[in-house]
């Protein structure tokens, strides 16, 4: 933790910029892969990879900023502007839970990623139920739990390798 205090703000900002661009790239790639089967809401969550790396390598505030900027800009540029609200709701809950879980040191990066994925889905389901005024969206809960867990593990393992091998220099 002490290492991070020696990094200049400018350097952190630069890293944040690069990670944001990377997150948007991953978001775009994800939009090219048609992974929605018969059930809406299934996502690979590739951009979450960046969020987790930012959480562990930078700081909480930057991780939040990177996520929000990525969601808004990606929504406008490549995705569906309507989905920005749903993504933001999912990301808010997801980030909140990941920050708490990370602080508790109860899981490894993989576990944090799985929690993030699951609560991202829950957040999106809840907001969808509210905006569409129909609680039946919760019917997909079981399927989204499974897809969230599976993809959460994959992204989590990738993130763990990335975090282990990326070095934020303090000079």
């Amino acid at each position: 933790m002490d290492k991070k205090n020696n990094i200049s703000k400018a350097k952190l900002t630069a890293y944040a910029g690069v990670l944001t661009a990377l997150a948007m790239l991953l978001s775009y790639i994800e939009s090219l892969i048609p992974i929605s089967f018969a059930i809406p809401g299934i996502k690979l969550g590739l951009a979450n990879l960046v969020t987790i790396v930012a959480l562990y390598k930078l700081n909480i505030k930057l991780a939040i900023v990177i996520s929000v900027i990525r969601i808004v800009l990606s929504g406008i540029l490549f995705g569906n502007p309507v989905m920005i609200v749903y993504s933001l709701a999912g990301a808010t809950l997801s980030l909140l839970i990941m920050i708490i879980v990370k602080k508790l040191h109860f899981f490894t990066v993989t576990g944090v990623s799985v929690c993030g994925a699951i609560f991202h889905n829950i957040g999106q389901l809840v907001i969808a139920a509210i905006l569409v005024e129909n609680a039946r969206v919760l019917y997909y809960f079981a399927a989204l739990l499974v897809s969230g867990t599976v993809f959460g593990v994959i992204i989590g393992v990738l993130a763990a390798f990335t975090i282990k091998n990326i070095h934020i220099n303090t000079y």
Partner: protein, 116 residues
């Protein structure tokens, strides 16, 4: 206790298995309670727009300022044959026929639900 070095730990496995078990339990409960429905309700932005019967084959066009969706009932199943939304998730959705199943078009705030 510092788990940043490990890729996966026992707690992670417990979490993953726990979630999968919960999801499986949900799934089993839903499968047991599955019942073929009778009425199909179409709602836009929370307001009922039309109620149709699963027994009668028909095509119903939902045209609002949010967009267009073509709802089709055929052979006791409901599906969306055409939609002008961007993602077309409603169009790709599997056909539904059990009580509680829904097809939702979020950009158009459209909810098609099978009721009893």
């Amino acid at each position: 206790m510092l788990n940043n070095k490990k890729i996966i730990s026992k707690n992670d496995i417990i979490l993953i298995l726990g979630v999968l078990i919960i999801a499986f339990a949900f799934f089993i409960i839903m499968q047991i309670n599955k019942k073929t429905g009778y009425n199909v309700s179409i709602m836009v932005d929370g307001d009922a727009v039309k109620t149709l019967s699963l027994d009668e084959d028909c095509e119903y066009s939902v045209d609002t300022k949010l967009g267009h969706n073509l709802v089709v009932i055929k052979d006791n199943e409901v599906f969306v044959k055409d939609a002008d939304c961007r993602d077309k998730i409603c169009y790709k959705h599997a056909k539904i026929s059990d009580i509680g199943e829904t097809i939702i078009c979020l950009p158009h705030k459209l909810v098609i639900e099978v009721k009893e």
